[in-house]
Symmetry: C2
Subunit: 199 residues, 2 copies
C-alpha cells in the first residue's frame, strides 16, 4: 500500500535532491553544506541522513540527473553514415564540453565516476548505457565495412573510452588547455587506433 509514509518519504527525498541541485549549481559541491541543503529543503539537517548516508551520495544523484540531461542531447541517428571517427568525436566532444563546462563540477564528477568510493550498481547501469551507444556506432561501422570484425565490440568501446579518459586527465592536469586542442588530439588518437601504429 502506497501509504502516507511512502509518499512523504519520496517527496522528501525529491525535495532534498532539488535543493541540492539548486545549491550545487549556484555555489558548488564543496561550498554547499548539508545544513544549507536542509534549510533550502525546509527540514532539519539530520533528517537528510535518513535518505543519504554521505554527502557524496547526494552528489551522485545529482550527477545522475546531469548525465541524463547530457545523454538526452545525444541523438542516436542510425541513418548517420559518416565515418566512425567523426561520429565518435561528436559523441565524446559533447560529453567533454558538458563535463568540463564547470571545471570544478567536472573534476568532482569525474573523480566519482572513474574512481568511485565503492563499486556501485547504479554507476554500472550508466556505464552500460554509455557502452551500448559506442558498440552501436562500432557495429554500424563494421556493417559498412569500415572496421574489422576481428575485434570484440566491448574491447573497442573500452579503447575509445580510455582515450576519452586520457583527454579528460590531460585537461585536469593542464596539458590540454583549449577545446580545439582537445578535439585535435582526440582525432589524432582515434586515427591511431584505426590505422594502427605498427610497421
Amino acid at each position: 500500500m502506497a501509504g502516507i509514509r511512502e509518499q512523504k518519504k519520496s517527496e522528501t527525498k525529491r525535495a532534498i535532491l532539488a535543493a541540492a541541485v539548486k545549491l550545487f549549481a549556484e555555489k558548488s559541491f564543496d561550498k554547499t553544506s548539508i545544513e544549507d541543503i536542509a534549510k533550502e529543503a525546509g527540514i532539519g539537517k539530520t533528517t537528510i541522513y535518513g535518505y543519504y548516508n554521505k554527502k557524496n551520495e547526494i552528489f551522485h544523484d545529482f550527477c545522475d540527473e546531469e548525465l541524463d540531461l547530457a545523454f538526452s542531447k545525444l541523438k542516436p541517428s542510425d541513418c548517420d553514415d559518416r565515418p566512425l571517427t567523426e561520429k565518435l568525436i561528436d559523441f565524446f566532444m559533447i560529453q567533454f564540453v558538458f563535463v568540463t563546462k564547470n571545471r570544478e563540477f567536472g573534476r568532482q564528477m569525474s573523480r566519482e565516476m572513474v574512481f568511485p568510493c565503492e563499486i556501485n550498481d547504479k554507476a554500472k547501469i550508466h556505464d552500460q548505457r554509455y557502452f551500448d551507444i559506442l558498440e552501436n556506432y562500432i557495429a554500424a561501422a563494421q556493417n559498412r565495412g569500415e572496421v574489422s570484425t576481428k575485434h570484440d565490440h566491448f574491447n573497442m568501446s573500452v579503447h575509445f573510452f580510455s582515450l576519452y579518459l586520457g583527454l579528460l586527465a590531460g585537461w585536469y592536469t593542464g596539458y590540454l588547455e583549449s577545446l580545439s586542442q582537445v578535439e585535435e588530439t582526440m582525432r589524432t588518437l582515434f586515427t591511431q587506433v584505426l590505422k594502427g601504429i605498427e610497421k
Copy 2:
C-alpha cells in the same frame, strides 16, 4: 646563509612527512588525522599548516615518495629488445600492481594524480618522467623498425597511458577483478593500437 631558521624549517617539514608516511601506511589517509601526524612528529597540529595548506598536500608529497620508490624498480635496460608490447605490459603492470596493492590508497592517489585539485608543476615533472620512459621504449621500437615513424612519440605515449588509465578505471568501477584479467585486457588493447582496427 642557511641560518638556523632554514635548517629547522626543512627539518620540521621532513619530520611531518615522515610521520605522515608512517601513519598513512599503518592506517590510511582517511583514518590519520592531522592531530595524529602532529603528535607523531612532536609538534602542535596548527604548526603543520605552516608547511602544508591542506591535508591533501601531505598526501601529495607522500605519493611522490611512493612513486619514486615505484620508479626505482623500473630498470631502463636499453638492451632489452623484446617486442614493444611486452615491454609496455611489464612497465604498466608494475605500476598497476603497485598502485592497487592497497585499494584505498590507490584510489586516493589516482584521484589526486588524474584529477588534481589544481594544476601543479611538481605533478608535471612526474608525468614528464613517466612519458620520457614511454617515449624511450617507442623510439627503440621505431629504431628496430617495429613501429611506424609517422606518429609523434608524445601522442603515442599519451595513447598507451590512456589505455592504462582505462584499465585503472575498470578496476575501480568493478569491471576488472583480477590482475590476470587486467593483463589480458591490456594485451588486447595494446595489440589493437599496434595493428589498428581498421578494415
